[in-house]
C-alpha cells in the first residue's frame, strides 16, 4: 500500500464534463491515477464509466475539463493521440483480425515497424512477454483459433507493443471463464509491478475487491466516491453504486394484496453460451401490489423479463398468468392474455423510432379490432386512438403523425406506457422504466405504476435503483446471479439487508 502513496500521479482529470444532447453522461468528474496502480471504475450500466474512459482514450472529446498526463495538459483528437501519450485501451469487443496470426495482428497495430523484419522480432518478443506473464501463446497461431482469454492477451500485447503506460480495460471479464479471469488478474498485477497503471472498468463487486488498489464509483454520470480497496467492503460499494440519494416520496396508501395474477414456478433458463442465467426462480405477483425485483445489473433481470414474454428460451419451470399457463407460448399470445411489458431499452426494444406516434401506439395490436377490419388497417381508428392517448398521457408531440424519433426520452417512455397500459391488462412488467429519465418523468412513471396497483393490477418492477425499489414497491425480491436471494415486505426490511443480498452475501444479516 505504501508504494501507492509514494508514487507519483500519472494521470489527472479535473472537472470533466461530457454531454450527449441533453443527456449528461459525465458530470464534473475529478480523477487521478498513480504509477503502478490498479484503479477500478465501478458503476451500473449507463453510469458513465465507459464514456469517461473513452474521453481518456480520445474516442470521445470531453465538453469541458482538463486531462493531464505526467503533469502535462493533453488534448486527444483520436485514440492515436492517446497511444502516443502512452494510454491504451482494450475494448469489451476485441478489434482483432481473426484471419491473421497473433503476431500479424500485433504488427499491424504498431506504427513504424517494417512488416517483413518486424514479424520475426515481434514473434520473439511475443514469446518472451507471454512467458514472463505466464500465458501460453503461439505467435503464429490464427487469432480465430484462440480462446477468448488468449485473444484478450493479444489485445493487451498490442497495447504493450505500442509502449502503453496506462492501460484501460473495459469490462474485461465479461466474456471470460472464471479461470481466464484469474489469469487476467495475475497478468494485470504483474504489469503494475513494472510500473504500468491500469484502469479497470467493471460492475462486478467481487472483481473489484480482488484486483484493485483503489476504486472510483460512478452513479448516473457523477462520481459518488473514491475509496481505497483496503478500507472498504462489498456492502459499502453496493450502496454507493445503487445510491441512497434523496428521492421524491411517492404517495401510496396501504392496500391488501388481492388475488394471484402471475405465478412463476421453478423457472430456469440458459443463455446462448450455456451459462445458467435463471436458476429455479419462484415469484408471485398479486393484485393491488407492486413487486420490486432488486439487483445489480446483469444478474438475470433481462433474462427473467425476456423469458416471461417468450423471447428467452426456458429450460425448466412454469409461468401462469391469471391461472393459464403461458410457458413457452408465442410472444403475441402471452401479451394478448393481458400482460403489459415495458422493456428496459425503450429505443431498441420498445419502439419503432422511424414510425409515427400513431403507428407506435398500435404496435402489437395491429391485428386487433378496432385497428383492423377485414384485411386493412383502419387509419381513422388508429389516429383517434393516438389523439386520445396523447391527451390522456400528456405526450408532448406535434400530433399523431409525428415521427417518434423526434420525441424526448421521457415522452418516448410515455408513448410506451400509453400503448401498454391502454390495453386490457391484468399484469404489468416494467424493466428499469425510469432509466435515463429526468426527475419529472421519473415521478410520472412512479405515479402511473402506483395508480395501476390501486386499480387492482399486479405490477412487477425490475430496477437497479434501490431508491426506486424502496419508494415504489410493496414487496421486494432480490436477484443475484440468476437466483432469488430472498423476498421481503418493504416495511419489514432495510436497505442494508437488501444491499447485502444484492452483493450475494447471505451470512451475517442483522
Amino acid at each position: 500500500m505504501s508504494a501507492i502513496q509514494d508514487s507519483s500521479v500519472v494521470l489527472e482529470v479535473s472537472n470533466l464534463n461530457k454531454c450527449f444532447g441533453n443527456f449528461v453522461a459525465n458530470d464534473q468528474i475529478n480523477f487521478n491515477l498513480t504509477a503502478g496502480e490498479i484503479h477500478c471504475l465501478l458503476g451500473e450500466n449507463g453510469a458513465g464509466k465507459s464514456t469517461f474512459a473513452k474521453c481518456l482514450y480520445g474516442a470521445y472529446h470531453q465538453d469541458t475539463g482538463t486531462v493531464k498526463v505526467n503533469g502535462f495538459d493533453v488534448k486527444f483528437n483520436s485514440p492515436r493521440d492517446a497511444i502516443h501519450h502512452g494510454i491504451g485501451m482494450v475494448h469489451q469487443h476485441f478489434v482483432l483480425v481473426p484471419t491473421m496470426t497473433v503476431v500479424e495482428n500485433i504488427v499491424v497495430g504498431v506504427e513504424k515497424s517494417g512488416i517483413s523484419t518486424g514479424i520475426k522480432d515481434a514473434a520473439k518478443k511475443v514469446v518472451a512477454l507471454s512467458e514472463k506473464f505466464g500465458v501460453e501463446l503461439d505467435p503464429h497461431a490464427l487469432v480465430a483459433n484462440l480462446a477468448v482469454g488468449q485473444q484478450q492477451w493479444v489485445e493487451i500485447l498490442k497495447a504493450l507493443f505500442s509502449g502503453v503506460e496506462i492501460l484501460i480495460l473495459d469490462e474485461p471479464t465479461a466474456a471470460l471463464t472464471p479461470q481466464e479471469s484469474e489469469q487476467l488478474f495475475s497478468i494485470i498485477k504483474k504489469m503494475t509491478m513494472d510500473g504500468t497503471s491500469v484502469i479497470f472498468i467493471t460492475h462486478k463487486l467481487n472483481e473489484v475487491m480482488q484486483v484493485s488498489d483503489r476504486i472510483t464509483i460512478f452513479r448516473k454520470g457523477k462520481k459518488v466516491g473514491s475509496v481505497k480497496t483496503s478500507t472498504t467492503n462489498k456492502i459499502e460499494l453496493a450502496t454507493l453504486m445503487v445510491g441512497r440519494g434523496v428521492h421524491f416520496e411517492v404517495e401510496k396508501e396501504t392496500l391488501e394484496p388481492g388475488t394471484l395474477v402471475m405465478e412463476i414456478r421453478d423457472l430456469s433458463a440458459s443463455s446462448k453460451d450455456k451459462r445458467e442465467s435463471l436458476k429455479s426462480i419462484n415469484l408471485s405477483i398479486y393484485q393491488n401490489e407492486i413487486l420490486g425485483i432488486a439487483g445489480v445489473g446483469g444478474n438475470g433481470q433481462s433474462e427473467l423479463f425476456d423469458a416471461i414474454i417468450g423471447i428467452h428460451p426456458i429450460s425448466g419451470g412454469n409461468i401462469y398468468l391469471n391461472g393459464d399457463e403461458i410457458t413457452r407460448l408465442k410472444t403475441a399470445k402471452i401479451l394478448g392474455k393481458g400482460l403489459a411489458s415495458i422493456p428496459s431499452d425503450r429505443m431498441t426494444q420498445g419502439l419503432l423510432l422511424e414510425f409515427t406516434v400513431a403507428e407506435n401506439l398500435i404496435l402489437g395490436s395491429q391485428w386487433v379490432s378496432p385497428f383492423k377490419s377485414g384485411i386493412l388497417l383502419k387509419e381513422k381508428e388508429i389516429i383517434k386512438n393516438a389523439e386520445n392517448l396523447i391527451k390522456e398521457y400528456e405526450i408532448a408531440t406535434s400530433g399523431p403523425e409525428q415521427v417518434a424519433a423526434r420525441l424526448s426520452g421521457g415522452n418516448l417512455q410515455k408513448l410506451i406506457l400509453a400503448r401498454e397500459l391502454s390495453r386490457d391488462i391484468t399484469c404489468v412488467m416494467a424493466n428499469c422504466p425510469t432509466r435515463g429519465l429526468d426527475v419529472g418523468a421519473i415521478e410520472y412513471v412512479h405515479q402511473r405504476l402506483v395508480e395501476l396497483r390501486d386499480q387492482g393490477i399486479g405490477v412487477m418492477l425490475i430496477s437497479e435503483d434501490l431508491d426506486e425499489i424502496f419508494n415504489v414497491a410493496d414487496r421486494i425480491a432480490v436477484i443475484y446471479q440468476g437466483k432469488i436471494m430472498g423476498e421481503f415486505k418493504t416495511n419489514q426490511t432495510s436497505r442494508e439487508q437488501i444491499g447485502l443480498l444484492m452483493a450475494g452475501v447471505t451470512e451475517g444479516i442483522k
Partner: protein
C-alpha cells in the same frame, strides 16, 4: 465540485453529426443529384470519345420520347423494370436485401414457358390467368429458398440470392439447349408459343395487359405496405426487428413472407415479358432487369409510385440509347455506365443524408 469555469471563451466549430430523422426533401434532392451526376459523367465519357454530348443526349431523348411509337416502346421497356423495382421495394422496406430479382425474373419466365408449352390448348381467357399465377409462383419459390434460409438459419440473403441468380441462369441455359430448343433455330431459344398464351394487347398496339397488371401491382404494393397489418409488420422488422419481436411480431414468418411477395413480383415481370412481348423464352430474356430493378427501387425512394417514375426514366434511357447509337455512334453500353454512376451516387447520398453539419460550441 460545483464551480464551473464560465470565463472560457466560447468558440464554435462545424461538426458532422448523425441525424436520426429523415427529411423527404433532402431524399429527393439526393436522387436528383445522383441523376444529374450520372448524366454528367456520361457526358464526359461521350465528349472524351470525340462526340458532341448534347447531340448524343438529344438523340437519346428523341429515341425515348420523340414519337408516339418511341413513347410506347419506352413504356414497354419500363414495364419489366417496374415489376422488378416493386420486388425490391417490398424486400428493402423490410430491410431484406433481395439481390435475386434477376433470378426470380428468370424463374417466372421459365414457369411461363413451361405452362405455355404444356397447356397451349387451353383457351386464352383461362390460360392467361394460369400464366400469371405460374410466373408469380416461380419467382416466389426461387426467392423463398433464400427467404427460408435467412429466416430459419440466418444465412445472409444477399449471398444466397446472388448465387441463386447464377444457378437459375445455368439451369435455364441447360434446359433451353436440351429440352425446350426450337428445332428451326440455331440460337438457344424455345419455340414460339401459341397465340392462346399471349397477353391481350391494348389499343391495338404493342402495349399489352402487362401494363395494367403492373399498375395494379403498384397499387397493391402500396396498400400492402401501408394499409395492412402484414405490411405494417414488414416495415416494422425493417425499422427495428428487436422491438418487433418484443411486441410479438413473428419475425421469421415475416421475413419469409416478404421474400415470397418480392419474388412473386419479380417472377410476374418475367412472365409478362414472355406472354406480352417475346412469346418465347430466350437466353437473353432479361437484360439485367433484376439488377436495374434495385436501382428503380432506390431511385424511387422505396415507394411504389416513386418506382413508376424511376422505371420510366431507366426505360427511356435504355430505349433511347438505340437511336443514340445509330445517330451519334455512342454505344448502347454507355447506358450501363450511366446506371452504374447513378447507383454509385445514390448509395453515397444515402449514407451522407444520415448526417448533417451543425455548428457546435467548443472551448479552447
Amino acid at each position: 465540485m460545483t464551480s464551473m469555469n464560465n470565463e472560457q471563451v466560447i468558440k464554435t466549430k462545424l461538426k458532422i453529426v448523425k441525424q436520426e430523422i429523415r427529411n423527404p426533401w433532402i431524399d429527393l434532392l439526393a436522387v436528383l443529384v445522383a441523376l444529374v451526376a450520372g448524366l454528367l459523367v456520361g457526358a464526359v465519357v461521350i465528349v472524351s470519345s470525340g462526340t458532341d454530348a448534347t447531340e448524343a443526349y438529344g438523340a437519346l431523348y428523341e429515341g425515348a420520347f420523340g414519337t408516339p411509337k418511341a413513347v410506347m416502346q419506352t413504356i414497354l421497356q419500363a414495364t419489366p423494370l417496374l415489376f422488378t423495382g416493386l420486388a425490391a421495394v417490398v424486400a428493402f422496406r423490410g430491410k431484406i436485401w433481395n439481390i435475386g430479382g434477376e433470378g426470380q425474373f428468370l424463374a417466372g419466365a421459365m414457369m411461363t414457358t413451361w405452362v405455355s408449352i404444356k397447356l397451349a390448348n387451353l383457351p386464352q381467357p383461362i390460360l392467361v390467368p394460369i400464366i400469371i399465377l405460374a410466373a408469380m409462383t416461380g419467382g416466389a419459390v426461387w426467392a423463398g429458398i433464400a427467404g427460408y434460409l435467412r429466416a430459419k438459419f440466418r444465412v445472409n440473403e444477399i449471398i444466397v440470392t446472388v448465387m441463386l441468380n447464377y444457378i437459375i441462369e445455368f439451369i435455364m441455359s441447360y434446359i433451353l439447349q436440351n429440352h425446350w430448343t426450337d428445332p428451326k433455330s440455331s440460337y438457344p431459344q424455345s419455340i414460339s408459343f401459341a397465340p392462346t398464351t399471349y397477353f391481350p394487347s391494348l389499343f391495338d398496339s404493342k402495349l399489352h395487359i402487362g401494363l395494367i397488371l403492373v399498375l395494379v401491382m403498384v397499387l397493391l404494393v402500396y396498400l400492402l405496405l401501408w394499409k395492412t397489418p402484414i405490411g405494417y409488420e414488414i416495415r416494422a422488422i425493417g425499422v427495428n426487428p428487436v422491438a418487433a419481436k418484443f411486441k410479438g411480431i413473428n419475425v421469421t414468418r415475416t421475413i419469409l413472407l416478404t421474400m415470397l411477395v418480392s419474388g412473386a413480383l419479380a417472377g410476374l415481370g418475367g412472365g409478362t415479358e414472355i406472354a406480352g412481348v417475346h412469346h418465347r423464352l430466350r437466353l437473353d430474356i432479361s437484360a439485367g432487369y433484376g439488377f436495374t430493378g434495385i436501382l428503380v427501387a432506390m431511385m424511387g425512394q422505396l415507394n411504389p409510385f416513386g418506382a413508376i417514375v424511376a422505371a420510366v426514366f431507366f426505360g427511356a434511357l435504355i430505349n433511347g440509347s438505340y437511336l443514340m447509337q445509330i445517330k451519334s455512334q455512342v454505344p448502347v453500353a454507355l447506358v450501363h455506365s450511366i446506371q452504374g454512376v447513378i447507383l454509385f451516387f445514390l448509395v453515397i447520398a444515402f449514407v451522407v443524408r444520415q448526417y448533417r453539419i451543425r455548428k457546435v460550441q467548443i472551448d479552447e
